[in-house]
Symmetry: C2
Subunit: 152 residues, 2 copies
C-alpha cells in the first residue's frame, strides 16, 4: 500500500524540509535534521522512543527529551504529522500529504492509503456549524493481512 522511499526520495524530502524549517523560524540544528531524516525514511510511523533508539547509533548523545521537544515543535509548525491513535504512545510521520491510516489491532502496524474520492468530497452540512475544519482523515481499524492469516 505504501512504497519504500528510496534514497532519491529521501534527499528530495530533506531538500524541501530545510527551507520549510527556516520558514517556520526554526534553527537548523544537527539534531533536528537527523530526527527529520530518520522519520522521513521510516516506514512505520515510529514513536519518539523508537526514533530515539534508532538515532542513538548515529547520535550517541541525543537525548530523548530533545526528540520529544523536536517532534512537538515540528508538528506545531506542520512539518510532520502526529497520527490519531488509540495507543498510549504517540506516533509520528513525516508525510503531511493527504492520506489515511489503517491500523491493525493485533500488531499495531499503521499503513497509509490514499482515497481521492473522499478527499474531494464535501463534508456534510452539519459540519459547517461546528467551526473551521483544517484537516480531515480516515482511520480504519481491523486486522492486517498478516495477522488475519496467523489465525486471529
Amino acid at each position: 500500500m505504501s512504497s519504500k522511499p528510496d534514497q532519491e526520495m529521501l534527499e528530495k524530502k530533506m531538500a524541501e524540509f530545510e527551507p520549510a524549517c527556516r520558514n517556520a523560524g526554526l534553527k537548523l540544528t544537527h539534531q533536528r535534521l537527523e530526527i527529520f531524516r530518520e522519520l522521513a525514511q521510516a516506514l512505520d510511523h515510529p514513536s519518539a522512543e523508537t526514533l530515539h533508539n534508532r538515532l542513538r547509533r548515529r547520535l550517541p548523545t541525543l537525548s530523548l527529551d530533545t526528540v520529544y521537544r523536536t517532534l512537538a515543535i515540528f508538528e506545531k509548525h506542520r512539518l510532520i504529522n502526529k497520527v490519531e491513535t488509540v495507543e498510549s504512545q504517540g506516533r509520528y510521520e513525516a508525510d503531511i500529504g493527504r492520506h489515511h491510516h489503517a491500523i491493525c489491532r493485533l500488531c499495531g502496524a499503521i499503513t497509509d492509503f490514499s482515497w481521492s474520492f473522499f478527499d474531494e468530497a464535501q463534508l456534510p452540512e452539519v459540519v459547517k456549524g461546528w467551526g473551521r475544519v483544517d484537516r480531515k482523515s480516515i482511520t480504519l481499524h481491523g486486522l492486517c493481512r498478516k495477522c488475519a492469516h496467523s489465525g486471529a
Copy 2:
C-alpha cells in the same frame, strides 16, 4: 451537533448495557454500572481521570485503577469506544454507533457528527489488500466555532 441525552435516553442505554455486559461474560458490579452510566451521560468524551473525578462524589472508594481497568475491558468487548486522538490522555465514549469526530485544536473539545454518505461508501480498492476492516471513522481537526470566534 450532538444533543444532550435526557434521562429517558440514559435509562435506555443502561437497559441495553446490562445484557450486553452479561453477554460478554462480565460481572455486573456496582462500579461497572456506575462507570458506564457516567460515561453514557457524558457529553465530552472524558478521560479515565475525568470520569474518576466525577464518580468520586458518588463512589468515594472507587479507585482510579479500577476505572482504567474497567474502561479497557469495556472497550475490549466493544461496549464502549476509545477515541482516536493525538492527545496523551485516552478519551472514551459510550456511543458505539456509527459516527465521527471533530476535534478543536485549541480547547480540545471532541464533537460527534454523522455522515451516512461516507458510512455507506465502499472503501477504495487499494484497501482490500490490506486485510480485514472492522471499523472506519473520520477525524476532523480545526477550530470549533467558539475558539474560532475568540480570535485564534
